[in-house]
C-alpha cells in the first residue's frame, strides 16, 4: 500500500467555533493507481489534498506514505518528503514568473541536492516527456496556458516522485487544452506513476480509474471503473 490513511481528522478553529474539515477518513491507495478525489467546495477535498501532499498535518489519525508515518513529522522532514515523494501540479501552475522553463523544472532537483550535469540531463528529459523540448529558455509569460501546465507537469515528474498530486489541473484551461493535459496525465499513469487528481468536474474525474467522493469531511463513495 502506497498511501494508508486511518481515521484522519482535521479541525480548524474559527474563533470559538470548530470546523471539522475532515471527519474521520480511511483511505488506501496502491502504487500505480489513478485516483480522482472529488467533492464540492467545502467538502474537505482541499484539506485532504494538503495533507496527502504533506503541506499540512492532520489533527488526529495516521497517514503512512510508502510505509513512512508522515502525520507526525516536523517541517523539514515534511519538506524532504514533498521533495522526494510528491509532485504537485496546481490549478494556477505556480511557476516562478522570472525563471525560464528549464529553471522552473530544475528547482526540485536543486532542493534535492542533485549535481548540475545530472540536473541538466533530467530536466531535459522531463521537458521532452511533456513535449516542450524547444521551450526550455521561455519564461512563463512567453508560454500558453497549456504549455505552462506542461512545464508544471515536467516539474512534478522530474524528481521521480511516488505520487503526482494534481489540484484542479485544468481549472484555468479551455476544454481543448484540458483534453491535451488529461492525455498527458494518462500517459504519465501508463508509465507507472501513481496519479491523484483533485477536481470537482465529473468529465475530468472520468479520466481516472477510481473516484473517491467527499462530502462534509467524510468519504461518501469510492468507485472504480
Amino acid at each position: 500500500m502506497l498511501i494508508e490513511i486511518e481515521n484522519l481528522t482535521k479541525i480548524y478553529k474559527m474563533g470559538a467555533e470548530e470546523v471539522h474539515a475532515l471527519d474521520g477518513i480511511d483511505l488506501g491507495i496502491e502504487r500505480g493507481e489513478y485516483v480522482a478525489i472529488m467533492g464540492a467546495s467545502g467538502s474537505g477535498k482541499s484539506t485532504l489534498m494538503n495533507i496527502l501532499g504533506c503541506l499540512d498535518v492532520p489533527t488526529s489519525g495516521t497517514y503512512r506514505l510508502d510505509g513512512e508515518l508522515v502525520s507526525s513529522m516536523d517541517d523539514d522532514r515534511l519538506a524532504a518528503i514533498r521533495n522526494r515523494q510528491i509532485g504537485f501540479v496546481f490549478q494556477t501552475f505556480n511557476l516562478l514568473p522570472r525563471s525560464d522553463a528549464f529553471h522552473n523544472v530544475e528547482l526540485p532537483l536543486i532542493y534535492a541536492g542533485v549535481a548540475r550535469p545530472e540536473r541538466r540531463h533530467r530536466v531535459e528529459e522531463a521537458l521532452v516527456a511533456v513535449g516542450l523540448a524547444d521551450r526550455t529558455k521561455h519564461r512563463p509569460n512567453e508560454l500558453s496556458g497549456g504549455q505552462r501546465q506542461r512545464v508544471a507537469i515536467a516539474r512534478a515528474l522530474v524528481n521521480a516522485p511516488s505520487i503526482i498530486l494534481a489540484d484542479e489541473p485544468t481549472g484555468n484551461l479551455d476544454s481543448r487544452t484540458s483534453e491535451d493535459i488529461m492525455v498527458a496525465f494518462r500517459k504519465i499513469h501508463d508509465a507507472g506513476n501513481t496519479v491523484l487528481l483533485v477536481t470537482h468536474e465529473e468529465d475530468i474525474a472520468a479520466h481516472a480509474d477510481r473516484r473517491v467522493r467527499l462530502r462534509d469531511g467524510r468519504i461518501e463513495s469510492d468507485t472504480r471503473s
Binding site: L55, A80, R82, F88, N94, R98, L107, P108, I110, Y111
Partner: protein
Amino acid sequence: MRLLIEGLKLGIAALWSHRLRTFLTLLGHIMGVITVITLVSLIQGLNHYVSEKILVQGANLFYVDKIGLAFNEEDFLKRLRRRNLDLSDFEAVRTKNETLANVGAYVQTNATLKYKKRKLNQMGVVGITADSPLFDPYPIASGRELRAEDTDHRRRVVVLGHEVAQELFPVGDPVGEEIRVGARKYTVIGVLGERGKVLGQSTDNFVAIPITEMLGWFHDLSFFTLLAQPLPNVSTDEAQEEVRWILRGSRGLRPKDAENFEVYSSDALMRLYQTLTGGIFAVLVGVGSISLVVGGIVIMNIMMVSVTERTREIGVRKSLGARRKDILNQFLLESVVLTVTGGLIGVLFGFSVSMLVSATTGFPARITASATILGLGVSAIVGIFFGVYPAFRAARLDPVTALRAE
C-alpha cells in the same frame, strides 16, 4: 555550496529585476558606507602622514631634554626648574658612548632675517652641532653643510632652509652672500633641500647656525635637546640606557637620585599622537556609522516588502521541497547581495570623495585595503543583521497559507 551559488544567482536576479527600487533602497546604505569610508580614509591618511613625518628620521632615533613629553602644566613647570642640559652633557655623550651612530644637540629661537631690503619676521633659528642627525631628512641643495670647523671656531655662518632661501633670494645663488640674523651678520654657506609642508605648516622656514656661536648670544637652554641615533646593530633601549648612565655621570647624580632629564623616542611621539587622536577618531567613525544603521533599517523594510510580495513564490518553493533553512538562506543571501553591492558602490564613492577632499583642501587621504575590507565587511554584517528577521519570517511561512496568497 550548490545552494549557495544558486541562492547568489537568485538574489542577483531578484534585485536586478527591480533595479530602480534596489538602487533607491540602497541609497541610504551607500551614503552610510561613503561616510564611513571617507572618514576612515582621511583618518588613515592623517595617521600615515603624521607617522611618516614624525618617523622620517628613523623610528629608532631618540631625544633627550629636561622637559620631555609633559602631559600637564604641573609636570611641565616642575621639569622647567630642572638644571639645563648643555654642551658639556653633549660632549660627555659624544665622547663616552659606544652604542650610537651619531649624536647631535640643538637649541632654537625665533629671529628676524634680513638680506638687503628683504626681511622675514619670526623665522626659526636653530643652533646645531656639526653632522647632527636632525638634518638627515634635508639633503643639502647647494653649498655645504655645517662642519666641525664651523662649530669649533664659532664661525658666523648660516645654512638656509629652502623657503628662507627662496624668500630672501628670489634670484641668484645665496651661497657666499651675507644676511642678518637678528642683529648679527652671517655668511650663507649652504641651502637645504625642500621637505615640504606638514599639515599645512612649512618645514623649510628656518636657518641653522653653529650652536657654539648661537650660545654666545642666546642663553635660554631650557629646551636644549640631544638627538641620538643608535648603531644599526644596537637596540634603541640599549642605547637609551647607555645615554642615561652617561648623563647621570655628567650631571653628577648619585645612584639613588631621580633622573633630572627625559629620554623619549620618535615612537613615543607617535604613541602620544595616537593617544591624543584615537578617541576622537573612534567617535567620528561611530557617529558616521549611525547612517549605516539607518540604511540597514531601510533595507530591512524593503526585505519585508519583498517577502510579502513573494509569499506565493515561497509557498511554491516549499511545495517543491525547500526547507526552512533554504528559504532563510535565500532571503538572507539576497539581503547580503544587496548590502555588499551597496558597500562596493559606497567604497568606490567614498574613495572618490576622500580624493576630492584631499585634492581641494590638501588634507592627506589614504586609500587602503583595510578600509575596503571594512566597507564590504560592515556591509555584509548589515545585510545579515537587518536581513535575518525578514528571512526568518519568510522561512516560517506555512506552505498552505503561502500557496493561497495572491
